[in-house]
Amino acid sequence: MKKLDLDPVTVRKARTLARKAGRPIVNLARRHTTVSVERAVLRLAGLAGADSEGIPWVNRLADTVRADVGLEHGFALPVWDALLRGEAEDLGVLAQKAASGSVTFRLPEGRDAQRARTAARKAAAAGIKRIDGRRRERERLIKRHGDPEQRPWIYLIVATGDIYEDIPQAQAAAREGADIIAVIRSTGQSLLDYVPEGATREGFAGTYATQENFRLMRAALDESSRELGRYVRLTNYASGLCMPEIATLAGLERLDMMLNDSMYGILFRDINPIRTFVDQRFSRQIHARAGIIINTGEDNYLTTADAVEAAHTVTVSQLLNEYFAKEAGLEDWQLGLGHAFEINPDLPDSFRLELAHAMLARQLFPEAPLKWMPPTRHMTGDVFRGYLLDGFFNLVGAMTGQGILLVGMMTEAVVTPWISDRDLALQNVRYVLGAAGNLHEDFRPEPNGFIAQRARQVLGESVELLEQIVDDGLLNAIGDGTFGLMKRPQDAGRGLEGVARKSGEYYNPAIELLEEDR
């Protein structure tokens, strides 16, 4: 579907530059570990549950291990060394003993270290095997129930704060036509350095991501899939300080898509850049293995920066996200690269500009299921105008072959969606897809017209920006406020205390397994 006459040399150059900009970050990520990566290993090995205060056992164990031997060697060696020394019969008991202070950890050496490595590897492999089983289960269910009939897949958000309210809402949304249900997280969760435990009924503007909530919602949507004769996908967020653990839980509970952007946490949550890139790489390796489609967050840049002036920052971020994703083992079909309909509607030709940007993304990433995000910034509370804007948003989605369409609500910026808002929004989508879903067959922009020129211009600006980033270093570019106008220096931000440079003895069985099977 090559509709824009993009210069293949420029496109290749853009990718090469993205690789050049990203490679030092990957090297940096490989040299460091984080508390959350190490806790994810414990979760893979089967450690779950929380103490009476609600603090997960993985955190209790991790905190003690870190206090005894530090973070820089990873937690696998000291933990499985303690098990081999007979300190406890399993991880659960070990965590309890660690919490009560009745076990001391050490860094094993020589044969002890070798034995600990072997035992840790076996335990992590069992977890990865469970993730593999979940992936096969998904493939089976898709075969049985089928994929949605149309593209884009229709993505709807549920956000009550109470998992037991979310479930009927999600099932109703699926019945109304949603192909993908996203459960928005409670706003505070990204900054928690632990994953809450159990089914939760209290959340602000969203529901906590917990293993039990994942399990409950997936089971409910399996029911809906059977009822509706199409596989309904479930989405959550692998972001914030516990990204690696949440990615692991998503793999274990067969979530289908995860929001997972390489820079979002840095820019919009002020999480330390190194922490983010290390956590990112591990979580993407897990997503790759679990067959999870990631959704990146480029739409967010346009909520702070101007959607026309900053259009190229979206393209640059997409290229970087692509590089980081592929380096971590994700395939094209797993890249839900984000972009959004956020141009000021009062601007002349705003719709043509939107079309140009959406077509550029489509053509740069032909095999990726792009995620098309609705207007939010220029939704004013005038719900009638908002409904029209959402219609035009849907039309761009239909005309440019987007893979995932997040349904826009006319009450954006007014209330959390009411049942009638969702119903009207889905009517809007159905009308546009029904009336114009095949318009892309007829639609060819003039080779040197406004749309084609604009797309070329944005691509050109992207290459220029990538050149600057390569010269300056991506971490410096982030520090300078290149993306979303947010300035984030590498030696600041949340979660920095949970980062360590790996020692020569460092061992992580999960990363070893995930990297060797590729």
Partner: protein, 250 residues
């Protein structure tokens, strides 16, 4: 004329449209129920122009009709702007002339709120509604702490920066989060500072009304549609023009 009625296409016709959902299946009884609700809201006769089932258990209605209520505009209470609107140039000049140093403004989205769109619209140079944000004002030193800032951290930064004014933005309203967060903020500042040295506290967000300042414990509340120029003008008036920072009785 202070007594008015809504206007459809003729003066005094009182015409109003509304839409709502009732938690019952769509049938004649449901439409009757919609009419009954509209009647009780003062709409008579009520015309159900659209009724649509939404799943098996809900029905959505659009209803038109005249309302029999009258509105007396002389009895409407609003907080009138009690400070002059200044251009950025005038604001800068006032600060330079009277304060003789830059005026420091610290802004944040506090608590769990991650929606920086409000604070960014006011503070970022980009601005809002065609007006440049506070960063554009040469005589303002603007520190935007971004999203999800804990209240103690905000107080600490305010002290470190010697803030003259604090702007907090709250968008998320679920379970009254915006009210609770803002009250926590104002209480913390009142505790951390002697009253006559406390920075001016300003809260903003689409679900706040200006009358809420007292309840929230802040000096001023800005609601939906506020522009950076209004905020800057208010700050200059409160902190500079009136010389002694005037603490509104709130």
């Amino acid at each position: 004329m202070s007594i008015i009625r809504p206007y459809g296409d003729t003066t005094g016709d009182g015409m109003v449209q509304m839409s709502f959902t009732l938690p019952i299946p769509h049938d004649k009884r449901a439409e009757g129920a919609a009419v009954q609700l509209a009647n009780k809201m003062g709409m008579d006769p009520a015309l159900v122009v659209h009724a649509k089932p939404m799943g098996p258990d809900f029905t959505f209605f659009v209803v038109y009709g005249p309302v029999n209520h009258l509105v007396d505009t002389s009895k409407v209470e609003v907080v009138e702007r009690d400070y002059p609107l200044l251009s950025p140039k005038e604001a800068n000049l006032a600060i330079r002339k009277h304060l003789r140093r830059r005026l420091t403004v610290v802004g944040a989205c506090i608590g769990t709120d991650a929606h920086t769109v409000g604070i960014d619209a006011i503070m970022n140079i980009k601005g809002f509604a065609g007006e440049k944000g506070l960063e554009y004002y040469r005589e303002l030193k603007v520190v935007n702490l971004g999203a999800q800032v804990a209240v103690p951290e905000l107080v600490r930064r305010a002290k470190a920066e010697k803030a003259d004014a604090i702007l907090v933005s709250q968008v998320v309203t679920q379970r009254e989060a915006h009210v609770l967060n803002t009250k926590e903020m104002s209480a913390a500042f009142r505790e951390a500072y002697a009253e006559d040295h406390r920075p001016v506290l300003v809260a903003g967000g689409p679900r706040f009304t200006e009358q809420m300042a007292g309840e929230l414990g802040v000096d001023r509340v800005f609601g939906r549609g506020t522009t950076p120029g209004e905020v800057a003008s208010y700050l200059v008036n409160a902190l500079v023009t009136r010389r002694q920072p005037v603490r509104r009785s709130a």
